[in-house]
Symmetry: C2
């Protein structure tokens, strides 16, 4: 029976967070509430849609908020609404004195800050924030207390932000088990355009080709196109709001991607021109611009940090043929445990149409030989 010591600090009086108000009980708001509840923080829940707040409450995320005059102010109000509505919500909450400090969780940061200034919000007790966590599913039912464990949580104080407001947000981030990353609002928006918003639109544009492709093409689809298009399954309305709030940085990245793809297409057309292959000294694969783009791509993937936040680790992959029935993986991992080897990651590759698949076990290079030997000794088939 596994028992895991909880690495997260306790909330409550010592953390400066006794009472938190969460406004907007979607995936992110409800997940924050659940994480806070695990630390004994008193959480109040509000949503434009009272059914969403009730559902979150029923899931154990806290109490439905009753916005009565004279109710004690929260230590922190977390505004978890779409980017376009953050500033208006902040103003309304500040006017009724709902909390001592305020933060938000929107995926864009410059827009809410500019709007808050324009509306005349108090910018001293507000810190813009953005937990880098999400799922393809949305809504309170998809929420999880551990959604933010080990994830970056960007926060963007300005010259006007009070240190106490920052400390209060940092306490929240700590209770959620996330890692605080201080960053300017504009820099944040440019960063997420590159690593999240533009990749989402690009995945959608690739997936859009599948929508119009003949059945034959889908029958030839492999793992590559599945990976490229996975995030394109996300909610279009939600994503339109995010993209709208980060319009110019996303447009910049999309234009660069579009330009690269158009240039690649032009190079391909040129290479296909009749007679080009017969030209004196023409390299039959001579598309140096395309090769250079592919090389830039390799360089980009090399920069993505790996597991545990460090540089991408290089694991050794051991493949094992497994049957598609209960217990195969249990026996496999049992054998690995008996060999004293930790499996860092696992990928199942099912063979379409057959009751067989291959498990790819990612292990530390120095453990690979011992594991392979142990598995073979136990009768596993390693191709």
């Amino acid at each position: 029976m596994p028992f895991l010591a909880d690495p997260r600090p306790a909330g409550g009086p010592m953390s400066g967070l006794e009472r938190v108000l969460v406004v907007g009980t979607g995936l992110i708001g409800t997940s924050i509430a659940l994480a806070l509840r695990e630390h004994g923080v008193e959480v109040h829940l509000a949503d434009l849609d009272p059914r969403a707040a009730r559902l979150a409450s029923e899931l154990g995320a806290g109490l439905e908020w009753s916005a009565q005059e004279g109710a004690p102010a929260a230590d922190l109000a977390v505004i978890a609404v779409p980017p376009q509505y953050v500033a208006a919500e902040l103003l309304a909450l500040q006017r009724r004195g709902a909390a001592r400090y305020y933060t938000d969780v929107a995926s864009v940061k410059a827009l809410p800050l500019a709007e808050a200034e324009r509306l005349g919000c108090d910018l001293g007790d507000y810190v813009a924030g953005h937990p880098l966590a999400g799922r393809e599913r949305s809504g309170p039912a998809a929420a999880r207390a551990d959604l933010f464990l080990g994830r970056p949580w960007a926060y963007c104080p300005t010259d006007e932000t009070s240190p106490a407001a920052v400390d209060t947000l940092l306490a929240l981030i700590k209770l959620c088990g996330a890692e605080a990353v201080r960053v300017g609002a504009e820099e944040h928006d440019r960063a997420v355009a590159v690593v999240s918003h533009a990749p989402h639109v690009t995945a959608a544009a690739v997936a859009a080709r599948l929508a119009e492709a003949p059945e034959t093409a889908l029958g030839l689809a492999g793992q590559g196109v599945r990976d490229v298009t996975r995030i394109a399954a996300g909610d279009p309305a939600l994503w339109t709001g995010i993209l709208s709030g980060n319009a110019l940085p996303v447009a910049n990245v999309l234009e660069a991607v579009a330009a690269d793809l158009a240039a690649a297409a032009a190079a391909l057309r040129e290479a296909a021109e009749p007679g080009r292959r017969a030209e004196e000294g023409a390299d039959p694969m001579g598309m140096p611009w395309v090769t250079a783009l592919l090389e830039r791509g390799v360089a980009g993937t090399d920069r993505i940090p790996g597991k545990h936040g460090g540089p991408a680790s290089v694991y050794t992959v051991i493949q094992v043929i497994i049957g598609d029935r209960p217990g195969e993986l249990a026996r496999l991992f049992q054998a690995a445990e008996e060999a004293g080897v930790n499996i860092e990651d696992v990928r199942l590759e099912h063979a379409p149409g057959l009751p067989l698949g291959a498990a790819e076990l990612f292990v530390q290079p120095q453990a690979a030989a011992a594991l392979a030997e142990a598995l073979r000794a136990n009768g596993w088939h390693l191709p």
Copy 2:
């Protein structure tokens, strides 16, 4: 100790494939050779680089070919060289009578067929083929006998192809455990442009943005951009050759993707124009064109076939918090086995910086409640 009945048919005399010549001992050629060896087929190996043929031979893929006059012809020669060189290799092999029938495995099909006709190859004993399998790694050392298990294997007979040549290729496909898919060469090329070649270039163009992004941006990278860019880590030289051989169909798809991205960028710029938000009746998220693109993307992902070749199955996902140490997964799968539940797929989500992660178990919906209950009863933490 697991023992799996081999679902693949036996080779040798009964299959019409007693002796096969594999020309080009890279990933695909060597994997085919390994699969044939498992069925007792006599395999001969040739490569422009004799060290590659020797390595493949040492890996158990067959014997190095000695192209002496009077050596018995193979039943089938598998030409596993880059697309540009297939036709010339076919001509050379036919001239020396190396085999009764010929096939190739190139990722494009119209080019080798056109070149073979132009060079005056015998088109009666040649069937163009393409196994839809691959890996990010290349070369004989990455080869696996099970690479083609359950994968589609396209083949493109023409009016001139003899039925006996087709039957011989079908025997090879069967021995490799793959599923034969008959398709015209042009249709094949358009299909792989959509599901493989253009997605590869697009992934590279997204990854290229990461190559030039500031460190802050990489620090905010999540799972989404990792998935979108994974295949961009593939070998640029190999991929330039593939793209060059399918230039026009790939250019068509890339232009459509580029046009969608440019139009999305334009819509985003327009939405960001000063004053637009204040316009009478303007929808603050009013980017119907962008929403429509995202919706086309969702429709595209919905069409990708799932496990076992059928329509995408809908599994229920159960999340379990696990520690990062040997045995956690073994105990987890053990508990699932004891509950009699088959785990269809598993995804590990490690929390960067923490010795904790979440395992997502994909199970049949009707088994989910029982598994969740069994896991909780065993002390697992399900968020």
